[in-house]
Symmetry: C2
Subunit: 165 residues, 2 copies
């Protein structure tokens, strides 16, 4: 926006902090969930998204966007989770090309067991040192960033008001 070099370097610094914070926090959250519940963060993400969806089911395409995966990546991820019995595939009656991923009872149980670990981790490693005003700012700022994107996953993240899960 401006050409002021001070402001540009501030933006660069912010971007670098952003990258580092992401890598660091995501890593430790994954490690903790893995250690205590033998579940990768990606699996948890799938479970949460399905749980929040009506009927505990979501089309593959939508789920792929929601969990930040390519469609092919999601196919394998769903393969692995279905093999463990946490989710199942179901044909879509309206569109015979479509497939639903649907949460199973075991999946719900796994989610309930994993959620406290994840929430604790977020509090401990992400928002722990932030006050309420910080968190509100962060929400607002990240929303602005995402509003600048036309990627479908941005719409999903902005559109669906998150529930407590």
């Amino acid at each position: 926006m401006t050409i002021d070099p001070t402001e540009r370097s501030r933006a660069l610094r912010a971007w670098r902090l952003f990258l580092t914070a992401h890598a660091t926090v995501a890593e430790v959250l994954d490690e903790e969930l893995q250690a205590e519940r033998q579940m990768p963060l990606t699996w948890y993400d799938v479970l949460v998204n399905l749980d929040e969806a009506p009927g505990g089911r979501l089309r593959m395409q939508h789920l792929a966007n929601a969990v930040l995966f390519s469609r092919s990546g999601l196919t394998r991820l769903v393969d692995r989770m279905a093999h463990e019995g946490l989710i199942a595939r179901e044909a879509c009656p309206d569109d015979r090309r479509g497939t639903f991923a649907v949460l199973t009872t075991a999946g719900k149980r796994a989610l309930r067991r994993a959620a406290p670990v994840h929430h604790r981790g977020i509090t401990k490693h992400f928002t722990g040192r932030l006050d309420d005003a910080d968190i509100r700012s962060l929400e607002s700022i990240l929303s602005k960033v995402l509003e600048g994107s036309d990627h479908p996953r941005a719409a999903i993240a902005l559109g669906s008001p998150a529930r407590a899960d």
Copy 2:
């Protein structure tokens, strides 16, 4: 810190926005750099970190932390970049176990060519919709998050005051 469910869900929402913003922005920055300079973002990151280091050189271990890679991952990354002539390996005289990665002339040139593309991308996709106050808030908030981590890469990100590059 509080147990207020509203605040907890706010934290979760912030975390999700954070993940989505990261995936979306990192992806588009990488795509643009790849398309216009045939260079992955990881390579750019290595070049910047070396360029900022005294003598254009950094020990492998330090560089690995700076660019958010495992040591083994960095070994291969340096292999590829050295093969393209952008950096070179150099023995460390003080510690014969050690290796420096050092920027070559071609590497400097590649960095100079890539930087404007990267900076433009950050402005366009990350800070474009933010005002100066937002960027300052973001810096401050992310710094707080990283202060909660004892990972060496957090110290690097917080410690070295970023230069305009």
